[in-house]
Amino acid sequence: MTHARSFGRLVATWALFVVLLAPLRAALADDAPPAIRQFDVPTIEKLGREMYDQDQLAWKATDIALAHFTEEGLKAQKTHGWIVETTQAGGVVRFVHDTPDGPAFFYDVTFPGTGTPTAPIPDNTTPNTEERAQYDARTLAVANINPSCSNRRREIHYSEGCTLEELHDDEKTRDPQRRNGRSLVDANRVDGAA
């Protein structure tokens, strides 16, 4: 059954609601972030796919590097991240460490289109301009993001946050097939599963 309500009464209750909602509106306005770059949907789809492909290469390469150097060995190398370069055939993950002359590559994991990845010690260890820009962008992002992206996790950094992948303490759990305990930490994420 519907209660008959006068229009005036509705307006009165609406007015009350408007007053009550005003602080919420103000808060939303204050919290409105600065605009970020806008891409069309096909570009968003392409960027997300590239991010995923690079992440796949990065975690596989990390496992290979850990198997080769051990975690302590990577620390001793003063490992300071990596960059991923993709090609049509596959890609290469280039691990970076600190040297007195600045960042330098010390281990490349190359993924051919088919077959087993190779992991040579690179001949040319000096980043070129583009590689240095990639490295600097990552370093800048790491220095300015939420500390929830800890050293115990691998991250992909981008303007809105970072993705985390747990690095397990147990060597056995480094099996790539079990490395699906991944979580996304996104600065804009406010809720969980439906």
Partner: protein, 195 residues
């Protein structure tokens, strides 16, 4: 089928990070933006969905819209001659009406509800809002969507017909008129189909 949903405040455009998340989780991701739109990310395929979409997409869209609404009960003391309005705690409308066949309110002792008022990211009534009106309460909707003009209207039944009476803000666009009209027709059909 599993899916993940969240709301996004940094942009009203879809983001590549959600594509990445969908590919990584290997499941669809639904993201609500502050302009009231709902985006479905199925791997690297990004599309708009809405509360009327069939299946999981519609269910996720209603769930997200429910997360983004802010609804309150406005009540008045029973028997008071000069009515004073009291604002009660927040109440879920979209998610409550999704689950339950009818809408029920609990008011403070000695008070009666006058209306339910909601700030929402989309001005068009949600698919189950008719349950609020059938329960006897006008539903006032205030559009709080990012980039939307301020509009306020009341969903009521007058002389047996649903109406959505706007009493503040810019006149609805043709697109809004069309969606509101379709929604009112759907409500009317539901009521008339009831025995």
């Amino acid at each position: 089928m599993e899916e993940v949903s969240w709301t996004q405040i940094v942009s009203t455009a879809p983001l590549e990070t959600a594509v990445f998340a969908s590919l990584s989780y290997k499941m669809p991701v639904f993201v609500g933006t502050m302009d009231g739109k709902i985006w479905k990310f199925d791997g690297d395929n990004v599309v708009n969905v809405d509360m009327d979409s069939p299946g999981v997409a519609g269910s996720a869209a209603r769930y997200i819209a429910g997360l983004m609404e802010v609804c309150r009960i406005i009540e008045t003391k029973i028997g008071e001659t000069s009515e004073k309005y009291n604002l009660q705690d927040s109440v879920d409308v979209i998610n409550a009406t999704e689950k339950d066949a009818s809408f029920k309110l609990t008011t403070s002792a000695g008070y009666q509800a006058v209306s339910v008022t909601c700030g929402r990211r989309d001005f068009v009534p949600a698919p189950n809002d008719y349950k609020v009106v059938l329960a006897g309460y006008p539903l006032i909707i205030m559009d709080t969507g990012t980039g939307h003009p301020e509009r306020i209207a009341s969903l009521e039944i007058v002389s047996g017909r649903f109406q959505f009476r706007q009493f503040e803000g810019d006149p609805p666009t043709d697109e809004l008129k069309s969606r509101i009209g379709a929604r009112l027709d759907a409500f009317q059909n539901i009521v008339q189909a009831k025995p």
